[in-house]
């Protein structure tokens, strides 16, 4: 139904745009839940789940009991769902979307016969063509000869019909489970000592790292949930400078967080999970460069966890002639070092432009940071024009003529003059 039609029928209708990504996530979560009923569960279209429950119903006391159990649980979770159990995948799909229920083995056609042909998962054009022919129900189709049907409507219709009626096999192809990296531990008695929590963490880490190793992955972020006896929970989250699965090295990073946790009346459950992981192939042990890299990564991790990963930086060259933009400061944990070209015409230390009071061009005498300086030698100018395609408030003053000024007092400074907006500024210092 179009939105305008819906509004015409019900003027007070509240509408919201569909969030497909969130819906897919919710459906994936529901798929994990449905795993309690069957080993093979797959997502069926955008709004359905298909489970192969062969051999399962007796565990729940029969098909009806299984379906009731499922409906009750979904109801309790606040979800309104339709479910159907049928001998074939196509029949279950059709029935679930037209009232739901249970179709016993051998009575497929009786159950499906009354349903419209659109229930057969055929496209809109085929369904319309069928209704023009007067074939509106599945029962009308079932007894027609297959060959003329296929010739007229294409093999898709016949395939769907056969799949619904069981003449064509259609297995439930469940996608492989994405590995879940999480381990938990519940304790018979609550614990409160820091050393006890660390001991528990030790055991969890061993298990989690074994899981990670089995999948050739390393954790990039780890979360430890601690549940207290009074149902309060606290969380410790750490980041790692590079994918890692070495229990001892990860444990050291948790020490500070565990120290700060308030244990209250005691902690009775620990849960350790790795929300973010990255591929980490097994590597040869024993080489010195690897040790050095490990030690540096450990340092960056511990620094980043205390002062923030955005404050542990690395200099990366970037393609611009503007001095401020000729490099970027990138978080060291998320970048690789890159060599940068060296120019003798560039200062070693850069600072935001500071106005200097100067006389002469190039200045003979000037005052910078409360120092009276006299020029000994001036080299330049080097003209740098602003990048007009980028709006930069510090370059509003237009062109810059850069000079290397050596002073009689010692400091070697990088000064620039803005001819379009006369003034002298200091921006850097040479070694």
């Amino acid at each position: 139904m179009a939105l305008a039609d819906a509004r015409a029928i019900c003027p007070d209708l509240t509408t919201r745009p569909a969030d497909l990504a969130a819906e897919a996530t919710a459906l994936a979560a529901l798929r994990r839940f449905t795993g309690r009923y069957a080993p093979l569960v797959t997502v069926d279209g955008a709004d359905g789940l298909m489970a192969d429950i062969s051999g399962v119903p007796h565990l729940f006391g029969g098909e009806a009991a299984l379906r009731d159990d499922l409906q009750a649980r979904l109801e309790r979770a606040g979800l309104h769902a339709q479910s159907a159990i049928a001998p074939t995948r196509g029949a279950a799909h059709a029935l679930a979307r037209h009232g739901g229920g249970i179709l016993p083995e051998g009575r497929l056609l009786e159950g499906l016969g009354a349903l419209p042909v659109t229930a057969l998962r055929v496209d809109q054009a085929t369904a319309e063509a069928l209704s023009r022919m007067g074939l509106t129900r599945i029962a009308d189709l079932a007894h027609l000869p297959r060959a003329p049907l296929a010739r007229r409507f294409g093999p898709g219709l016949v395939l769907r019909l056969d799949q619904a009626l069981g003449a064509q096999a259609e297995p439930v192809a469940a996608p492989p489970e994405a590995p879940h990296f999480g381990v938990r531990m519940t304790l018979p008695d609550p614990i409160g000592l820091q050393s006890d929590v660390m001991a528990g963490l030790d055991r969890l880490l061993d298990r989690l790292c074994a899981q990670l190793a089995a999948h050739h992955r390393g954790a990039r972020r780890l979360r430890l949930d601690l549940r207290r006896v009074d149902r309060q929970a606290s969380q410790i989250e750490i980041g790692l400078a590079r994918p890692m699965r070495d229990p001892a090295r990860i444990k050291a990073l948790f020490a500070k967080g565990v120290e700060e946790v308030d244990a209250g009346f005691g902690i009775d459950a620990l849960r350790l999970s790795a929300p973010i992981t990255e591929p980490l192939a097994p590597e040869q042990i024993g080489s010195t460069p690897a040790h050095q890299a490990d030690a540096l990564a450990d340092l960056l991790s511990s620094l980043g966890n205390r002062i923030g990963f955005d404050r542990v930086l690395r200099l990366l060259p970037s393609d611009s002639l503007i001095p401020e933009r000729s490099f970027t400061l990138a978080p060291a944990a998320y970048s690789q070092p890159a060599p940068s070209p060296t120019h003798r015409t560039r200062p070693a230390i850069l600072f935001p432009p500071e106005a200097v009071t100067a006389t002469g061009h190039p200045p003979v005498q000037f005052r910078w940071r409360r120092m009276q300086l006299t020029t000994l030698r001036a080299t330049g100018p080097e003209r740098i024009t602003p990048e007009w395609w980028l709006e930069d408030p510090t370059w509003r003053s237009g062109l810059r003529d850069y000079w290397r000024i050596e002073t009689r007092q010692g400091p070697r400074l990088w000064l620039f003059h803005t001819p379009q907006n006369p003034g002298w500024y200091a921006q850097g210092e040479f070694p």
Binding site: D294, R306, P341, T342, R346, F351, E406, G410, P431
Partner: protein, 196 residues
């Protein structure tokens, strides 16, 4: 007399390894870059987040920019913690830091122990009169005016716990670790002042 307790000998203008040193004066950053070029391995430069000065990769000595890690902690406590943590790590070759307040003797001593534990060298760029009694050496560095095509530096070694003081005027152009001594001050070959 040479004993086993003596630290390994270090070349002139070098920093004794596994110790924390101090440099002051207007040329202290140049001195730090000079030392950075002479220490192969990862470098860590710790500056407070509010400091406007930052290194420009194109102007650094060759090979320094890609080895350099900049830490910008907020607050003096975090800064000192960062220095200690970096010194304690065996992976780092040289730790350069710019504390904004004078270090107490305890803090200075702590840093020395951390440097020993991590076999790392530290260099603190201090403000005027911001030295700590625990530092191994203290350098006073000033840029000096010189003739055409020269970059003169006047570096004085004012305090040396295990050796003599010194006074060097040298030409270092800031691109490589190579330098050229202009003159050697007479004091250099004399024994340490016995009154100390």
């Amino acid at each position: 007399m040479k004993t086993l307790l003596d630290p390994p000998a270090c070349p002139p203008l070098g920093l004794r390894p596994m110790r924390v040193h101090e440099a002051g004066g207007r040329g202290r950053r140049s001195f730090a870059l000079f030392q950075a070029a002479r220490h192969p391995g990862p470098l860590v430069w710790i500056t407070p987040a509010h400091l406007p000065e930052q290194p420009l990769p194109a102007g650094l000595p060759m090979g320094v920019a890609e080895r350099l890690h900049l830490l910008r902690p907020v607050g003096e406590t975090d800064l000192l913690w960062c220095i200690e943590e970096a010194l304690r790590s065996p992976a780092v070759a040289l730790v350069i830091a710019e504390p904004q307040q004078p270090l107490s003797l305890t803090a200075g001593r702590r840093l020395q122990l951390a440097a020993e534990a991590g076999r790392t060298t530290g260099l603190l760029l201090i403000q005027q009169d911001g030295g700590s009694a625990a530092s191994e050496t203290r350098w006073q560095c000033e840029p000096a005016p010189g003739p055409e095509d020269s970059t003169l530096h006047h570096w004085q070694l004012n305090r040396n716990k295990r050796g003599t003081n010194g006074d060097w005027m040298l030409h270092w152009d800031g691109t490589t670790a190579a330098f050229h001594l202009v003159s050697e001050a007479g004091k250099r070959h004399q024994p340490a002042d016995p009154a100390r």
